[in-house]
């Protein structure tokens, strides 16, 4: 019996597709993902915050199943992609969107007023952060919007190119470009423009 089993195994191995069922590719892919997470400094708390902000933003435009929203990092070839998967119930119509935007704007103004009363320096900081957050999700919403019209399930993705040379020396600032909110502080003006445009349109 042994001889026959050996023979069978040899023959089977000969014809077996090379890559697919190999456990090493599973390991390689899992490892790439986990290292991506290790190398960026995105803590679960920050991810959760990001998720919450994305929900707030997208729900202005879409009616969706918030509980089923998934936010994941995935490996695509050499790049790491931020995959956002949301089951969309329906896209809101123009009136609803405008209403939602107006409401958000009113809310923001109310917040700003409240903040004005507090310490000025502190307020500036807060505003800066607000803009960062909006910029982070701005790209998301654009692609999400378009896709939502076609599919009932939209996937917004923001690819973040990993620097070819490792960012070793930058460990403390760290994380791939585009993922770290801290790196966004430099361009608040541009962001302001973009956000006003969306409000008007």
């Amino acid at each position: 019996m042994g001889i026959f089993t050996d023979f069978y195994n040899t023959v089977a191995r000969f014809f077996r597709p090379q890559e697919e069922d190999a456990s090493k590719s599973v390991a390689t892919n899992r490892l790439k993902l986990v290292l991506m997470q290790d190398r960026t400094n995105l803590t679960p708390k920050i991810l959760e915050q990001m998720r919450g902000e994305l929900v707030d933003l997208l729900s202005k435009y879409l009616e969706m199943d918030k509980d089923l929203l998934e936010l994941n990092f995935e490996q695509e070839g050499d790049q790491v992609a931020l995959m956002l998967s949301i089951p969309v119930i329906r896209a809101k119509d123009e009136e609803e969107i405008e209403a939602a935007l107006a409401e958000a704007k009113a809310l923001k103004e109310a917040q700003e007023e409240a903040e004005e009363e507090t310490d000025e320096e502190y307020e500036e900081d807060e505003e800066g952060e607000d803009f960062e957050d909006e910029e982070l999700v701005e790209e998301e919403i654009e692609s999400a919007e378009v896709e939502a019209e076609i599919n009932s399930e939209s996937e917004a993705q923001q690819t973040t190119s990993r620097p070819k040379k490792r960012r070793r020396k930058l460990e403390k600032v760290s994380s791939p470009e585009g993922l770290n909110t801290e790196e966004k502080t430099e361009e608040p003006e541009e962001i302001e423009q973009v956000s006003t445009e969306t409000t008007e349109g």
Binding site: T10, R13, F14, Q18, E19, A22, S23, K24, S25, A27, T28, R30, L31, K32, V34, L35, D38, R39, R166, R168, K169, E171, K172
Partner: protein, 270 residues
């Protein structure tokens, strides 16, 4: 003379740091260079065992730091090779007995009179690691083709990059099993290098001879026939700046494997 201080580290335990230290040290000493091995794994020392020097240790690194002896007195000469000596770790103390500044000072003193100072780092990323790295200007990161070891190595590589004194970080891939790589059950050398993205300095095949060499307290580089010994000798050559090709572990042996290889190549072309 100013020698080179190289730290051998890994993050994860049990991947072969100490074996690597013992073998590279012995190989360099055989080439005629003066080498000191420092065991910085306080409380869990093993380098003395791998070198077969466990019965000759009188003073340890902690005795030197606490000035119970002179540095020279604490260096234990190897049985076979007078070029090689060991500064043993204290077995009865923990990592807090030494600080980074003290270790750096010892490394600086030793490199005055030796060509190479190899620092065997403990596992982990805490004080012991910080101490071991303090005096070094080069690092060799040891890992095996397993996920957990690679992940830890990645962390270590990240930490080493924040150290300005470390000028070069190289990868040594240990316990490679060519058969498992061929059957795609183990990550290949290219896979690992692709993930960690640092230059490779050695590929050491899994070798049962390591077990017997440890039993005898004699590094495997002394065994002219062992494949792992040859691989370690090659690493020493590369440290010395020679360009030595990596051992070809992938070449399939036997008729069936060769035929299969030809088919695989044809398939790749189509």
């Amino acid at each position: 003379m100013t020698g080179r201080v190289i730290v051998i580290t890994s993050g994860k335990g049990g991947v072969g740091k100490t074996t690597t230290s013992a073998n590279i040290g012995t190989a360099l000493a055989k080439e005629g260079y003066k080498v000191v091995l420092i065991d910085t794994d306080l409380g869990l020392r093993n380098l003395d065992l791998l070198l077969g020097l466990e019965n000759r240790i009188v003073y340890t690194i902690v005795d030197v730091i606490e000035e119970r002896c002179k540095l020279k007195q604490a260096l234990v000469k190897d049985k076979k090779n007078p070029n090689l000596s060991l500064l043993a770790a204290a077995q009865t103390r923990d990592k807090s007995a030494v600080n980074a500044e003290q270790l750096k000072d010892i490394c600086n003193q030793l490199k005055e009179k030796n060509d190479f100072v190899l620092v065997d780092c403990p596992a982990g990323i805490e004080q012991g690691f910080q101490n071991a790295v303090a005096g070094a200007s080069e690092a060799i990161v040891v890992t095996t083709p397993e996920m957990s070891a690679i992940r830890d190595a990645d962390r270590i590589i990240g930490l080493l990059a924040t150290k300005e004194e470390i000028e070069s970080t190289k990868l040594l891939l240990n316990r490679v099993r060519p058969k498992l790589i061929q059957s795609k059950e183990m990550m290949s050398v290219d896979d690992v290098v692709g993930i960690l993205e640092i230059p490779l300095i050695g590929i050491i095949p899994e070798d049962t001879g390591i077990i017997t060499s440890t039993n005898k307290g004699e590094p495997i580089v002394n065994d002219e026939n062992a494949l792992a010994g040859k691989a370690y000798r090659n690493v020493a050559q590369r440290i010395l700046g020679e360009e030595v090709p990596f051992l070809d572990l992938d070449e399939p042996k036997g008729f069936v494997a060769k035929v299969k290889n030809i088919f695989a190549k044809l398939k790749a072309k189509v």
